[in-house]
Symmetry: C2
Subunit: 250 residues, 2 copies
């Protein structure tokens, strides 16, 4: 099922009927090769894509040619649903690995919106989840040190992959170079390398041949100052991802 991972294990979930309506609205599936740029910033678009298999990125190009990631996407993410109201994007969308996506035309989304008020709110929720992650990335860049940023990113990725069954909580595949991680965390590839060594030597986690191994989950969460509340996971998944127990913080 193409929409299988959509909102899976989140606070808000889809009913069987809603899954059906969405599946019926898919106009086609497409494949993209690793490295391809799927949407360019500023280009008018009239489709949105749901990621089914593989990893994708959203990134902005700096005037000096360097790029910086503003989001990374896993199966079940509605990568550019925001293009539906926005009609053009302020960033590029690219394939990190070979990927398979399901295509929704905006005309189809408009029909859904007119007939499924609750489902519309769920889709809106999806785009807001995205914004919540953006906020956490802002926090990460502004407030955390290099090692905390990388640890935080690993915790976030683990949590999100847990939700779709792509992590068992202790290890998961992460096909990113140290350069890529640097573009997420605002660090150079050299410094990412040193930070990863430090995390490894501290017995917290290691990244080798595109696989993350978490050796000390609670230690890592603590080192990362990570709290998965912003991911709006269901309680069980949140607990597995390292949620603080007891009353909400604040």
């Amino acid at each position: 099922m193409l929409t299988e991972n959509l909102l899976r294990n989140r606070a808000t979930q889809l009913s069987a009927e809603e899954h059906g309506a969405l599946e019926a609205a898919v106009s086609e599936t497409r494949l993209w090769r690793a490295g391809q740029v799927v949407v360019r910033q500023g280009t008018p678009v009239n489709i949105s894509t749901l990621l089914v298999e593989g990893f994708m990125t959203r990134h902005v190009d700096a005037p000096d040619g360097r790029r910086h990631l503003v989001a990374i996407h896993f199966p079940g993410d509605f990568v550019d649903l925001h293009a539906y109201p926005l009609k053009q994007l302020d960033h590029d969308v690219g394939a990190l690995t070979d990927v398979k996506v399901a295509v929704f035309t905006h005309a189809a989304l408009e029909r859904l919106q007119e007939h499924h008020s609750v489902l519309t709110r769920r889709l809106w929720f999806l785009t807001l989840l995205d914004a919540a992650m953006h906020r956490q990335w802002i926090y990460r860049l502004a407030s955390l040190k290099a090692i905390e940023r990388v640890a935080h990113f690993i915790c976030e990725t683990n949590a999100r992959l847990l939700a779709i069954g792509a992590s068992d909580g202790n290890s998961f595949a992460l096909p990113m170079t140290q350069e890529d991680i640097g573009q997420v965390c605002g660090l150079t590839n050299v410094h990412v390398n040193r930070v990863l060594r430090e995390l490894r030597e501290a017995g917290l986690c290691q990244l080798r041949s595109s696989t993350v191994q978490i050796m000390d989950a609670s230690g890592l969460v603590k080192r990362a100052l990570f709290d998965p509340a912003y991911l709006y996971l269901n309680p069980e998944t949140a607990a597995r991802a390292g949620a603080r127990t007891g009353v909400p913080h604040g």
Copy 2:
């Protein structure tokens, strides 16, 4: 009119009828004093607030007690419209100055959503504009140097205030301390001070007694690597805000 500044001078705008529907959905107006925290993260909410007068912030609290801004809001911003689908927030909302807000209950928004499909998409658009700004803040923190970050923030603020008639393009009121600006740009108050001096001595802009004076608009835009495309302004306003002329970048 309470909704006067909502989507004013943006690529997407509201019809007179839509303005009317929104005005009718306002349940009350409220006042808050400068410094008050209006919504706490993690608290269930069933209203959303449109900022009518004054400035507000959204910020996350770090475990060590320091706070960091993830957004700043001006009149016409629907500060926590995202609470409508999310039902609880992953950050605090606070009043930077004394403010006046219009309150929409989520029940009222639900009624609007059921009867006004196009207006719903406009509201959705609003929350995505917010996300687009988040992305630019990520870019700013990850890719720009201190002086560029501050310049970029000033350009962004100028552009947004231009859109609502609160800047003439050369000067505007900005009731923020250097500490506040530091929390936006990921800098200490001390370093913000040095950077402001540098901008002043370079003849680009100055901030004195809560007022920004732009002396060299195009120089400032250039120094900030600023491009207002992500604000989805209408073409005239974008041009005044320093948009690159000619074909879209990319």
